[in-house]
């Protein structure tokens, strides 16, 4: 946390990276960093791998008459399917491994891990947020850096990736294991895939694409920053924490 030179480096990295997006940003406003460069790159790799894995994975599940629509093309794609699926899987596993290293050994990562840990506030936040949705409260709770939605999603992603990786590796090396283990792996891999896909579609894509003030897309995944107004609205607790702490100001406010 106290590693200021590195933090500054990160900030400069943010500044220099998304330059095309920076032009859109207003010089007068305060911008708060939500994702640093490393996190954005990790996210991007994950997105690409995820899409490839979903397509190449669900290809095996579609019924025969749907396969017939593809004709010859399906045949060719299927030839590369297993290779693509495994390649994307390996890249995803490596990214996840790097992410764990990042969480444990990088100051920004450790901050992320610390902020991501579940707290009692999350449960009370969730209850009062749902009360707010139902009109029982006038204003939503004051969220910290990561709210209960983020924490649930992150947890699900962590568990899901672990399960998919382990079962995937079992299936890859199937001839070495008992068929029962392979059956379990196949079942879990398939079911978890359905769960993950639906969760991403309902939870994550809504959050970043369909929410009324985010539509059509929240640029934060590329710029890494949000403006002061949005920060006050979405993460007021974190905003107050930053504004009252000069050390956090240095970390989170884009200079």
């Amino acid at each position: 946390m106290g590693n200021e030179p590195e933090t500054n480096e990160k900030i400069t990295a943010v500044k220099t990276s998304g330059s095309s997006f920076r032009n859109e940003l207003d010089g007068e406003k305060l911008y708060f960093i939500r994702l640093n460069l490393s996190e954005r790159v990790q996210h991007l790799i994950f997105v690409i791998c995820f899409i490839i894995l979903v397509i190449t994975g669900f290809m095996t599940k579609i019924p025969k008459n749907m396969v017939n629509w593809f004709g010859e093309a399906g045949n060719i794609v299927f030839y590369y399917r297993s290779m693509l699926h495994r390649t994307a899987g390996v890249i995803m596993i490596l990214t996840s491994a790097y992410h764990i290293y990042y969480l444990l050994f990088k100051p920004a990562g450790r901050r992320l891990l610390f902020d991501m840990l579940p707290k009692v506030k999350d449960i009370t936040d969730m209850i009062s947020n749902i009360r707010y949705y139902l009109g029982l409260e006038d204003s939503p709770p004051e969220f910290d850096r990561f709210c209960y939605k983020h924490k649930l999603e992150y947890g699900a992603l962590f568990a899901g990736t672990t399960l998919m990786s382990v079962t995937g590796v079992f299936m890859w090396t199937e001839q070495n294991w008992s068929k029962f283990l392979i059956d379990i792996s196949t079942l879990i891999h398939g079911m978890e895939a359905i769960l993950a896909c639906l969760a991403i579609m309902v939870w994550h894509l809504y959050e970043v694409h369909l929410r009324p003030h985010k539509f059509p897309i929240d640029h934060m995944w590329l710029t890494g920053v949000i403006d002061e107004e949005e920060m006050k609205e979405e993460y007021p607790f974190h905003y107050k924490k930053i504004m009252n702490d000069p050390r956090l100001k240095k970390i989170y406010i884009r200079s």
Binding site: N75, Q175, F180
Partner: protein, 396 residues
Amino acid sequence: MMKHCRRKSAKAKILSTVFFTSVIPVVICFFFYIGIGFAQSDVAPDEENCLFCHRYPQMGRYDETGKKRVFYINEKMFANSVHGKLRCKGCHVGLDTIPHTNIEKVDCSTKCHIEEPSTNKEFSHINMIEKYEASVHGNTINGKIKAYPEDLPTCKYCHTNRMYNPFMSIWGKSDALSNETLARCVGCHTEEQWTKRFYAHFTHRMRRRRSQAEIIALCTSCHENREKMARHGLETIETYKDTFHFTQVKYGVENAPDCIDCHVPINYSTHYIRPKTDPTSPVYITNRITTCSNQGGLKICHPGAHAEFARGRVHAYGLKAKIAAHNDKLKLPGQTKDLMAERAQAEIENKEVFHYNVLKIIRLFYQILIAVVIGSMVIHQMLDYIRTKRKNKKHH
């Protein structure tokens, strides 16, 4: 003069040499070539005069069951088919009255008056039929006729003679390819009809006639019939269709395993399929490693198959496992119920029942998890959407 004459005759000698060594062979070759072109006759001599009636394409009728029966014979196609050299009555025994009242079903084990070239004996399909009768699809067991023998496939059920189909499907996928190959044969084997027949027979035997998908379509034409299978205490083939093996077949992967790859021993013909309880069956428990690794076969399957891997269940758990797990007879009709329960008890071990239950619990767990998690997510996001919209309205 003499000298002149002698010189002339020398010239003539040279000319005649040239004439005899090159021109005549060329001319002969030319006529020979033309001759081949004209001499080809695709029509078999119809000694029995069956074509007197049967050459008319409209010939046929609807039989008692409403099935359309075509009695038309395309001379050219028949002549080029594998049976092209046979007389009609060689297989269609009887038929000596008109209209034909004494019709007997064609028996493929009949000895036809063709010489089998390796033994010079009369040819018959009896060898294959004997092998087939001993297989799981044969209609006798220990000398007794099986129950429901009409369910079992006869020769013609699988061997649908393709002589009425266009040539392309007989020769192979590419017409040009077979024509080019045939042209090479015809160079020496000038009797074109014979050559085509031989070529058809030979290329037919060189490869599998049906693709994996076609094999599966053929096998499932019976093995997907619930009633028919239940009569014999068998499950339908859906359990295979749940496997990754079938997924590959769906996409037309050449290496994909169909029914034959696992159920016919390597280096045996399809007529050899045995029940899995038979020690010679490739799916018999001790033969599994060889089968999964496809040792000696053409496909690349699981080369380093571990014993535990090979011993496992290939088709998904189906009805029999369900019966064994619930220890009941489910809602099956009469005799079927007992047969199925009997087979379930004999074939599904306790270990497999345990596996079936574990998989069932995992599936159920995920189904509930998905429904609950995704359901609450949808509700949550819908609430969010409605609330945000309402708030925006207030602001404006």
